[in-house]
């Protein structure tokens, strides 16, 4: 809910500042580690947008899978099922490189 609110208030502000008459699409990237369920986010967004100037905007959600890098051997790998263990050397000392993001990527609007 809070996240949907933040997306709406930021987008509305940008819409006015950039001189758009209306926004048609808001693109967000949601990492698998961000703790945001894309469907819940979409639901909250669709409920909240009705009260705002974004009533025609569609939320386009791109899901980002988790990618990590093994600190011991340098192997880069996609993390499946939240197992943060290097598939090559078995070390569990890994750093996450992708998948934590929760980002508004772009706005599309009409002038």
């Amino acid at each position: 809910m809070k996240v949907a609110q933040e997306i709406i208030s930021f987008s509305e502000k940008e819409m006015h500042e950039r001189g758009f008459a209306a926004l048609t699409e808001i693109g967000v990237r949601v990492g698998a580690l961000s703790c945001i369920d894309p469907e819940s986010l979409r639901f909250a967004f669709d409920v909240l947008k009705k009260e705002t100037g974004l009533s025609q905007a569609v939320l386009n959600i791109e899901r980002v899978t988790i990618e990590a890098r093994c600190i011991s051997c340098g192997t880069e790998f996609e993390v499946a099922d939240y197992v943060f263990i290097c598939p090559k050397c078995g070390a569990n000392d890994v750093e996450v490189q992708k998948g934590e993001e929760l980002v508004i990527a772009y706005l599309t609007g009409d002038r």
């Binding site: 809070k2 996240v3 933040e6 997306i7 930021f10 940008e14 950039r18 758009f20 048609t24 699409e25 967000v28 580690l33 961000s34 703790c35 945001i36 099922d81 939240y82 197992v83 943060f84 263990i85 070390a91 569990n92 000392d93 890994v94 996450v96 993001e101 929760l102 980002v103 508004i104 990527a105 772009y106 706005l107 599309t108 609007g109 009409d110 002038r111």
Partner: protein, 221 residues
């Protein structure tokens, strides 16, 4: 005419900015700040009560106790000897955020503090996204929960530095497999310090307090 603009804006950047200010302010005074997270009922408040019994004379400790409603936890902690306990009632929000913490920190004298606990709202999902300016998160789970909790809520376990497994006095009374729980937690985060204890009997509370002493000492270096 339709036009697309790239904005690349972190959704929680306002919160992140405030959290960075909190972190800077606390670090300047060498105060160790811990964000304590768990499901409801794992024993966050009990752990803090025990911590106060042991460490209250050794260190200056402040506690921010977050709850959706009631200041019951804050009252419990005051009864346990907490000298600086402040409740935050989120009024519906399922997590603390940096703005709430800033407001409370303005009200307390942090000059002589060694340790600040931020007891988050019982919830393993949303609090993981909201930085409060802590040095680290400590996640609690208990033996009356599922031993697969780290796999169900990986983000919280991934972002925590330590895991406390509470209620070990009840081991054997449920199907909770503590070794399996640890294995799951380490799968998600190999860097976790893990402490098994019982707030009820006091078993291993000293291990937890030693861990805190080490972290406070590191912070003061």
């Amino acid at each position: 005419m339709s036009e697309r603009v790239e904005v690349e804006r972190k959704v929680l950047s306002e919160n992140d900015k405030l959290a960075a200010e909190i972190r800077e302010g606390l670090s300047a005074k060498k105060i160790l700040a811990l964000n304590l997270v768990s499901s409801p009922g794992s024993g966050k408040t009990s752990l803090l009560e025990k911590t106060l019994y042991v460490l209250d004379k050794e260190f200056n400790i402040a506690i921010i106790a977050g709850d959706v409603q009631t200041d019951n936890d804050a009252k419990r902690l005051e009864r346990a000897g907490g000298k600086t306990v402040r409740p935050i009632m989120t009024g519906g929000a399922c997590h603390l955020d940096a703005r709430m913490v800033v407001k409370v920190l303005d009200e307390i004298d942090i000059d002589k503090l060694d340790l600040l606990f931020m007891e988050n709202v019982g919830n393993l999902v949303c609090p993981s996204g909201f930085d409060l300016g802590e040095d680290m998160k400590v996640v609690l789970m208990s033996t009356t929960e599922g031993d697969d909790k780290p796999l169900k809520y990986p983000s919280m376990f991934r972002k925590s530095s330590a895991l406390v497994i509470n209620k070990i006095d009840l081991l054997g009374l449920s199907d909770f497999d503590i070794d399996k729980a640890e294995k799951h937690a380490l799968q998600v985060n190999g860097g976790l310090d893990i402490i098994r204890l019982s707030c009820r009997t006091g078993e291993n509370i000293n291990h937890w307090c030693d861990w805190l002493r080490d972290k406070i000492a590191e912070k003061k270096e």
